[in-house]
């Protein structure tokens, strides 16, 4: 076991920890500080929303935690492991095994059926066919789409597609599910239903959810809301909703 891991083994119930996280972009040569030093901790089983105005750095912050972007400074630790020390291959495996993604635009593979989309990650993980099928059918039942397994995403509504995306994100049982504005393309009823379903899954499975959102429906259903403003967390506006 390496020193980093040993030192951080105490953070067992902390799913993700960021320390002094910074990200500076260069837009046409002009430096833009999207994230300006965030210390943040997410513990197991949380259902947390990150809110903030456009350009506040929500997506950049989520990307940094997901290992999709590299920080200019600071570090991200997932279950005791620093992701900044990981090679490209390790990072790829890390995302595959520990993080589930839900995107604003669903981003399902249009040529794969619902079942194939959901089992994609399990195929990458090398899970056997029988188990894949069982897990897909089980999660489809939980997102109430068990009759849609053979359909292509184009034959589903936006809400249904996002539920498939939720199923895809959860089926491999990751430590953390990151959702970047998951309801941005949905109407309010569908958004409410989706969030209710996700919260139910969170309660049932204990899986950790982290959202970025503008949507009040999401905010109302989050157990914890943190505000991001100008690339910094506004601790004064952190709230716990029971």
């Amino acid at each position: 076991m390496n020193t980093d891991t040993e030192n951080r083994s105490t953070n067992k119930n902390k799913v993700i920890v960021t320390r002094g996280l910074k990200k500076t972009y260069h837009d046409n040569g002009v430096p833009v500080e999207a994230v300006r030093g965030i210390d943040f901790t997410l513990t197991e089983g949380e259902f947390t929303a990150i809110i903030g105005p456009s350009g506040s750095g929500k997506t950049t912050f989520l990307n940094l935690m997901a290992g999709l972007d590299t920080p200019t400074d600071g570090e991200v630790e997932l279950s005791g492991r620093l992701i900044s020390n990981m090679s490209g291959k390790e990072l790829s495996n890390y995302r595959r095994d520990h993080i589930g993604f839900i995107f604003q635009a669903y981003n399902l593979f249009p040529v794969l059926t619902v079942e194939e989309n959901i089992e994609y990650i399990m195929l990458l993980q090398g899970i056997r066919k029988k188990e894949r099928h069982e897990r897909v059918m089980n999660i489809l039942k939980q997102v109430e789409l068990e009759d849609y397994a053979d359909r292509l995403p184009s034959k589903l509504s936006g809400g249904q597609q996002q539920r498939v995306a939720v199923a895809r994100a959860m089926v491999s049982k990751p430590k953390l599910i990151i959702a970047d504005e998951p309801t941005a393309n949905l109407d309010s009823n569908t958004s409410g239903d989706l969030l209710d379903m996700m919260r139910k899954l969170n309660e049932k499975t204990g899986m950790t959810f982290l959202f970025s959102t503008h949507d009040e429906i999401v905010m109302k259903r989050a157990r914890k809301v943190v505000t991001l403003r100008d690339g910094l967390l506004d601790t004064a506006e952190e709230s716990l909703i029971q």
């Binding site: 997506t59 950049t60 990307n63 997901a66 999709l68 972007d69 490209g88 291959k89 790829s92 495996n93 995302r95 595959r96 095994d97 993604f101 995107f103 604003q104 635009a105 981003n107 593979f109 249009p110 040529v111 794969l112 194939e116 994609y120 990650i121 195929l123 990458l124 895809r168 970047d180």
Partner: protein
């Protein structure tokens, strides 16, 4: 089917119009290459057959060193025995002996006093066995006036008038026609003078003006007697059942004739200029093929680049959820390869139809093509394995290589950036 193969296969049907265009581009490259190869093989095959059947034969046997420095003294002794052994070799269709030497021919001007020979020309005298020559080559088909030499035994007294065939241009120079007589002056292998009167029995038109200006033909028996070469010849020409047998049969005959101090060569060696000319033409054709493939490759590159650009977000998602870059490369190369495979199948069907038409009807050359000293009036294509496997390899390799560039580009998609743009 693996996940990546499944994705690659289904992605092909996403943008049907673009897929069809890409496949058509590759199919076009395949068909053009295939037809060009068939045309080249057919034309050159026809030329080689024409060239070897007409005169040279496909394989020649000489005394060692004769090809580089021909001499009347460098003969094949006991040639009948050598010839019989050659004939016993597998895939040898026929053989024929020949004698070559030089002579001065002189003819009389009409109504000139006896003994006055005003027209004369130097010529190459070829002694042929009329029966064996007809079995081996189509020499007799080249006699345009008169008839072939008869295989009568030579007159040992050499007093009787012999038969001679003249090349068309030589007959014009000597101002003689069928039935006229002329005198042949030369020197025999024993150093004695060799002269004899001949009656022109036929005019030969090989299609090679140079050859017809300097060649005359007498019977083997006459030639052996006149030039004191009894039982000896300078050359054995050999014909095989097929051009594809030539190299192998040459080797087998060589093994037999080498110990006898004889050398055996295929047409590529003794007709070096003709062969080199063909090689040069083949090189031009290869450049043309490379251009055809390059144009098709550019089309493929363009469409695959477009596809990669359109699917950037999807590649970003794939990477985000843990797909390795090499799997993305594999998927795109596989997509291009599948399209390449479809093009090969489609191209093979179209090429077969085109090649069948071109091999049946050919193309009339107007004006005729002069090549290797001969005139060709028609060219036809032939259907060979090369018409399929060469374009198939070119298309598949090109599709894979060309798709590698966009594939690597796709594999390096920045997941965060690509998903930021909706």
């Amino acid at each position: 089917m693996s996940l990546i193969s499944k994705l690659a296969w289904r992605n092909i049907f996403r943008q049907k119009r673009r897929t069809i265009l890409t496949i058509l581009s590759m199919t076009g490259g395949f068909v053009l290459s295939s037809l060009a190869i068939g045309w080249m093989d057919g034309s050159y095959g026809g030329m080689i057959l024409f060239f070897t059947n007409h005169r040279t034969g496909q394989i020649q046997v000489h005394k060692d060193g004769y090809l580089n420095d021909p001499s009347i003294y460098d003969t094949i002794d006991d040639y009948m025995s050598v010839g019989e052994q050659i004939e016993a070799t597998d895939d040898v269709r026929a053989w024929a002996p020949r004698i070559y030497t030089g002579a001065l021919l002189a003819s009389r001007v009409q109504n000139s006093p006896p003994g006055i020979y005003a027209n004369s020309a130097a010529a190459s005298v070829v002694g042929i066995d009329p029966v064996m020559e007809q079995r081996a080559t189509d020499f007799s088909d080249q006699i345009t006036d008169g008839e072939m030499l008869t295989a009568s035994p030579a007159d040992s007294s050499l007093r009787a008038t012999g038969q001679i065939l003249l090349g068309r241009e030589l007959a014009i120079t000597l101002n003689v026609a069928v039935g006229d007589s002329l005198i042949l002056f030369s020197q025999a292998a024993d150093g004695s003078g060799a002269d004899r009167r001949y009656i022109v029995t036929g005019i030969v038109s090989t299609g090679n003006t140079e050859l017809d200006r300097a060649s005359c033909y007498i019977t083997m028996a006459d030639a052996q007697l006149l030039f004191a070469l009894e039982g000896r010849v300078h050359e054995l020409v050999v014909m095989t059942n097929s051009l594809s047998d030539v190299e192998r049969v040459t080797g087998e005959i060589s093994a037999m004739t080498d110990p006898l101090g004889l050398s055996t060569a295929p047409w590529k060696v003794f007709a070096k200029e003709f062969y080199n000319g063909m090689q040069a033409d083949e090189a031009s054709l290869k450049i043309m093929l490379a251009i055809i493939i390059a144009v098709a490759a550019l089309g493929v590159l363009n469409t695959i680049l477009m596809m990669v650009l359109e699917r950037r977000r999807e590649f970003g998602v794939m990477k985000a959820i843990g797909t390795r870059p090499k799997s993305i490369v594999k998927m795109i190369v596989l997509e291009a390869s599948i399209m390449g495979l479809v093009s090969v199948v489609l191209g093979s069907v179209i090429s077969t139809i085109g090649l069948m038409i071109l091999s049946k009807h050919g193309m009339i050359l107007d004006p005729p093509l002069d090549y290797g000293g001969f005139t060709f009036r028609e060219m036809v294509a032939s259907i060979t394995p090369g018409c399929y496997w060469i374009p198939a390899i070119c298309v598949m390799v090109t599709a894979s290589i060309v798709s590698l560039i966009p594939a690597v580009k796709a594999a390096h998609t920045d997941a965060a950036k690509s998903m930021r743009k909706v």
